[in-house]
């Protein structure tokens, strides 16, 4: 009896797989044909062209969906959440800091990106280029404009590592010559934080950063946590 069930299953399983494969179409199939959808004559928003068998496939953009276009319905929901297309266009978005700019700002704040030791900001930056969304021009893929989970996580790793190196190299922040990041008590200075943020520090920045130091288990750890947090909060968006 068991043998019979196994035998029948063995016969049916490939059949079922084959059937589902035919229905789904391969990735080199057009999407706009009647065969693509269960609805006769339906045309998807991301249709690449005509029927399955009557024209060749249309070119696609890598990593951007079937033909590189975002779903308008999804965009419309996002726009309505903000108010209108005009409102959306007049508000700043949140583009990721470019790979080159991230390197430049870290270097000008005292991080040595030529370091190759495991766990250094330099090593994480160099080895993390792909995660940070750099361009792949042979694949016609530009550097990512918007951040991804991977790119933001990698940036966080780099900034945490960079925080320790900036603290160690404080005297050589070339962007802010003569500026002390920390005062004699080990607390952050307002100018120092401004230099790290790239914009005027507020009293809140200073208060919160130094509160982190005071609540940490020890001074170096508190300084590094606070500095990493400042960097991450400021540099998430371009």
């Amino acid at each position: 009896m068991k043998s019979s069930i196994l035998f029948v299953s063995a016969l049916l399983l490939p059949t079922a797989l084959a059937a589902s494969g035919c229905q789904g179409n391969g990735s080199d199939q057009l999407t706009g044909s009647t065969g693509w959808s269960n609805t006769p004559n339906a045309v998807a928003y991301d249709s690449l062209g005509s029927g399955r068998l009557n024209t060749p496939n249309h070119f696609q953009n890598p990593n951007l969906g079937l033909n590189g276009l975002t779903d308008p319905a999804q965009v419309q929901v996002q726009v309505q959440a903000v108010g209108s297309p005009e409102a959306v266009a007049r508000l700043h978005g949140c583009s990721k800091i470019t790979y080159a700019a991230l390197g430049a700002l870290l270097t000008s704040r005292g991080v040595d990106l030529t370091q190759t030791a495991m766990g250094t900001a330099g090593e994480l930056y160099t080895d993390g280029a792909t995660a940070l969304g750099v361009a792949i021009y042979p694949g016609r893929t530009p550097e990512a404009i918007l951040g991804s989970t991977a790119s933001l996580a990698k940036e966080m790793d780099i900034l945490v590592a960079a925080a320790g190196e900036i603290l160690a190299n404080n005297p050589v922040m070339s962007a802010c010559p003569g500026t002390a990041l920390l005062d004699q008590t080990g607390n952050f200075t307002k100018d120092g934080i401004s230099c790290i943020l790239g914009k005027p520090a507020t009293a809140d920045h200073v208060t919160l950063a130094n509160q982190v130091i005071s609540e940490a288990s020890d001074l170096p750890t508190g300084q590094q946590v606070a500095l990493a947090a400042l960097l991450e909060a400021a540099q998430t968006c371009e």
Binding site: G83, A87, I145, A161, G198, K199, T202, A203
Partner: protein, 432 residues
């Protein structure tokens, strides 16, 4: 143990980051701006193949009824009462930070930050000082470097530092030329009409003009061997799509008749005669097919342009004795003109009613198209405002938003650097 400590620091920092961000928001000027949801953009004008209406307001415009826009220029009558708009405050310090990152690829120096702080007490709140900082950034040698990179990403091509060879073209020349046009205040239309010096080099802060190799007629970046190689594909369609999406800012279809007609399973919306593209019995490719979508809605435009680019081979080498692209049918034969256009209708055009004869005249037609100027301005706007790609991310820009920039662009000799300055000093840009 070391990893444990790092993880602890990272986790703690992440939590503190949230606290700092929240705290700073409450603190006012240093806080995070009201942000749109990530990736939020306006709706595509005509992304769907079955589109039956032209986009309102030109490239990057918006369709009616999407998210509250009502006018042809995309103006939102309720904008002034939008809480996201109302919550914005001028913050020149924040503006200088993002402008510096975008224009020269680094954070501002402390002296520049403090200049903004010190100018806040002036009667204009520091506006003039901020504008002078933007002028300085545009004159900074790093601006040229950043521009080259921006054009690489816009063109989706480039090979910085890579030598050419093995028959491969210079994939960086087009971006370098486009950057030179911007940095040296040349008319934007040079991208389509320049007949010499379109493959410059850049070193030590200086552009050095050079002609591209090859025997092709020259029309700005349209005849750049690197771009031609990068966008090589059957029937040269990818090259046309590149030009359409990069310089017109919307996907095909892009031409619309005022009187669409029912054909097959949908509507034929192009102004071209339906039979102006190849198809039917005996054709290698049936561009008149109507069984699913209407191929001719896009291909009436595409097919009247693509043959002009078909003389460039996979390496971007021009050979005007024969087409250098294939037709994607069994055997992959070299394309023939009847693959695109039927006998008796084998003429070329940028658009219906805008005939061209060769690549330079195509370049001139593109340069004269108002959609090109609008697209250029809208791309700059999105660049300034940290928005996604105007085509792929549907980050469209209603015309009302960039109307003044466009007017100044057109009246000022099509200098894109002027548009960049206006965008980065605009009321919208300095508010967060």
């Amino acid at each position: 143990m070391r990893h444990t400590k790092w993880r602890s620091i990272a986790t703690t920092a992440l939590g503190v980051t949230a606290l700092l961000a929240a705290g700073c928001e409450n603190g006012g000027s240093g806080g995070s701006p009201q942000k749109e949801p990530e990736g939020a953009t306006a709706v595509a004008p005509n992304g769907a193949s079955a589109a039956v209406a032209p986009p309102l307001g030109g490239p990057g415009g918006t369709t009616a009824g999407t998210g509250g826009a009502t006018g042809n220029d995309g103006a939102d009558p309720g904008l002034a009462k939008n809480p996201n708009i109302m919550a914005r405050k001028i913050n020149y310090g924040e503006a200088l930070r993002t402008a510096t990152l975008k224009l020269v690829g680094d954070l501002p120096a402390l002296t520049d930050i403090n200049d903004i702080v010190n100018a806040a007490s002036q009667s204009d709140g520091g506006k003039v000082v901020y504008q002078l900082k933007i002028d300085a950034l545009l004159a900074d040698p790093r601006f040229a470097v950043r521009q080259i990179q921006w054009w690489r990403d816009t063109f989706k091509t480039g090979a910085p530092g890579e030598p050419t060879g093995m028959g491969m073209p210079d994939f960086d020349a087009a971006a370098t030329f486009a950057a030179e046009v911007v940095v040296n205040d040349r008319p934007y239309t040079d991208l389509f009409t320049a007949s010499t010096g379109t493959c410059p080099t850049f070193a030590n802060g200086t552009f050095t003009d050079a002609n591209c190799p090859g025997t092709q007629p020259v029309a700005g970046v349209l005849t750049d061997p690197g771009l031609m190689s990068q966008y090589y594909a059957d029937l040269a369609f990818r090259r046309v799509r590149f030009i359409q999406e990069t310089f017109v800012c919307n996907a095909m279809p892009t031409e619309f008749s005022g009187n669409p007609t029912a054909v097959g399973s949908g509507l034929y919306t192009s102004p071209w005669p339906f039979t102006s593209v190849s198809g039917g019995t005996g054709a290698n490719v049936n561009f008149q097919d109507t069984s699913a979508v209407i191929c001719a809605n896009c291909h009436t435009t595409l097919n009247h342009i693509a043959p002009l680019f078909a003389y460039f081979d996979a390496n971007g080498v021009y050979n005007n004795t024969a087409f250098q692209v294939s037709t994607p049918i069994p055997g992959e034969p070299t394309s023939v003109i009847s693959d695109w256009l039927p006998a008796g209708q084998q003429t070329f055009a940028w658009r219906f009613g805008t005939p061209v004869t060769d690549l330079p005249s195509l370049g001139a037609a593109i340069a004269a198209d108002p959609a090109i100027a609008q697209c250029a301005v809208n791309r700059v706007w999105n660049y300034a405002m940290s928005r996604g790609d105007i085509v792929n991310d549907l980050a469209t820009v209603p015309p009302v938003v960039t109307a003044s920039l466009l007017a100044d662009f057109k009246s000022g000799g099509m200098k894109l650097k002027t548009v960049i300055r206006e965008a980065f000093t605009s009321d919208d840009f300095v508010q967060f």
